[in-house]
Subunit: 422 residues, 2 copies
Amino acid sequence: MRKKSALSKLGERTKAPPISWLMGLTLMNPKWISLAAGFTDDESLPVTKTRALIEEVLSSRKPGANALQYGATNGDPELRRLTAARLREQDGARGGANYDAARTIITNGSQQLLYMVTEALCDPGDIVLMEDPTYFVYLGIAQSHGLRCRGIRLEEDGLDLAHLERVLDELKRRGQLPQVKMLYLVSYYQNPTGITTSTAKKAGALELLRRYERAAGHPIYLLEDAAYRELRFAGDDVASALAVKGAAERVIYTGTYSKPFATGVRVGFGVLPEAVLAIVSRIKGNHDFGTANLLQHVLARALTSCQYGQHLGVIQRRYAQKARVMMAALREHFPAPVQWQEPKGGLYIWARLPERMKSRAKSRVFKQAMARDVIYVPGELCYCEDSTRAKPNHEMRLSFGNASEAQIREGIARLGKVISNQ
Amino acid sequence: MRKKSALSKLGERTKAPPISWLMGLTLMNPKWISLAAGFTDDESLPVTKTRALIEEVLSSRKPGANALQYGATNGDPELRRLTAARLREQDGARGGANYDAARTIITNGSQQLLYMVTEALCDPGDIVLMEDPTYFVYLGIAQSHGLRCRGIRLEEDGLDLAHLERVLDELKRRGQLPQVKMLYLVSYYQNPTGITTSTAKKAGALELLRRYERAAGHPIYLLEDAAYRELRFAGDDVASALAVKGAAERVIYTGTYSKPFATGVRVGFGVLPEAVLAIVSRIKGNHDFGTANLLQHVLARALTSCQYGQHLGVIQRRYAQKARVMMAALREHFPAPVQWQEPKGGLYIWARLPERMKSRAKSRVFKQAMARDVIYVPGELCYCEDSTRAKPNHEMRLSFGNASEAQIREGIARLGKVISNQ
């Protein structure tokens, strides 16, 4: 008799990440040009800065020992204070409880916070609304928790509010609003499309969610994932949903210091409504009762010493340059019917091929690209399982984060040939 | 109409940790002598060592950038290799797949691994066997996941195997074995009792679990939490359950570099059966796709440079001294009927008052201790909810980890007076 597994339902549901095979292949083929990885730029990693900051943090016995001891579950009080103050300034906000340090929490990258918020709010069968397409690691979280997803279309300035309303309306008619827990929104230079949702649209989305809450019977949260906010290299910053009137009890904001500073120093943060923070904080207690104190002290020191701000300038210029290189290569090598939008921040360009030209892992395009030692993330992987539509299958996420300028030029040139040959 | 909450079932179940009120009180009363905190010794934290190690890790551009970039979800390959090799040596094992680096994973403290293993294996209603008493943060994990717990009594050399067998037998008769997923065992200098379970008993436990698997219909795992293993200051090391024949597919071993090195550098690890590792690794991908690379590189450097080993010597002598101070104070100040066992490692002494003398938070003993500015962890908090017995309520966990020698002497003297006055 074959034994049944001892796995939980979550254990059985949790699938391998859709790009793990891609990452495995890349590791085995170090000469490949990867435009797939979401890794950040190697050359600008602040090696000297970090060494100097840690030397400062550990330069004398008492503060040094503090940094090497356990800290509080919700994070280092100084880093929480700095985080709240910084957000308030970025949002151009005068005050308001939304930017209270007591509402912040420090986590292992913002990824951990996305996970814990989902744990805190969602049961199997619950529904999460999200951009169509969206961050594929979040799709893994949703899938492992047995959630149903509904994709909301994107326009050039972000979420399509008319579509959001139609979806909410349909869920209401079907009596499914009680299962709707939140709208997950990657609001800045979105992964994968690069699109930013305007503050006006965030306000509109919040208003819509609020309008359907009565039928839901409970709050519907806006989970704003601002992971790429600081990787802005053109245009103005946009206020977060926290700045919208009435946001205090409905907006869950997540951000990170990892991507803008160093991804090997994993420190994320969030601002949450009190009721949600109370639960997430307990879950954090069970996960790990606090993010490594040393990393938090390094970040706090980086923020107060202006090293963080200086480094931000460096990487913003660096990504601007790499984005320009990718744009120029796209214009030179990609045939006319392929479309893309110029990014103003983040790490990605989203290329849309003609619909007849498939881009998924088993497509000719993907295979021919691999044969030329170039890989990208097939757009299909960024779409949730939404039974109301087929997954688009003619797009590619092209990352200019980790590849060198020479690799970007060469990679795009080879991809251009592949596409032109279809 | 009052709105219902939008919380998940897990969110609703997840309670505040039982000692959070105690920690809050301690923070507000910095002059209190806390024999409650599980914090480690401040004075021996390796401030200078860590600074030097990080300087080395970040001394040149390329390895420095590697440490500051994202790493692999399962952890830095070098640290995984070192971890497996070290465990093999500690266990005096010659080889065997159990100590294969491919079976290891690096996590945010071993706490995260306890959480993920529970997620991977347990559904609400499932049963976990555990020591009676056990690590109270694990009780929080179990409770938040809606698990049922059965406490297994402890003897001087660890788990009471006869009791384990009776419990398994009873669960079998009731048809509840299919819900039994694992035995959670804090095997070295246990938190809270200081008891170590012998290798022979681990082998016995594994054999028992194996015997009941047929009726369970699936594997029943032994989750060995070795968090305090390296804080040994007397007696010989004891081989882990990994060294037991047939362990490869049933033992989940968790350990940590945080307590022995620096708790602000949160790096834990585990060795898992392949089938479980595959799932836990995916869950880790959803949690945070990898522990901060910088911390892992620091630990790998500490291990290879022998700084880790040297520091271990330092803290082992330090805790030995603090344990001696506490033992001497107990002998001097605690009245005769109070019993305890001399610790050979770890951070705790478990004092058993006469049964009539209650120790819980609302007891006279606890209140009078607080009035004298001393706190301990009421033993009751370390017992799981097990409907087959009442929770013992006459014990105290006394930690010599964080308090200074003077505080230990004074704290125990004051507690002794409180107890003598009952």
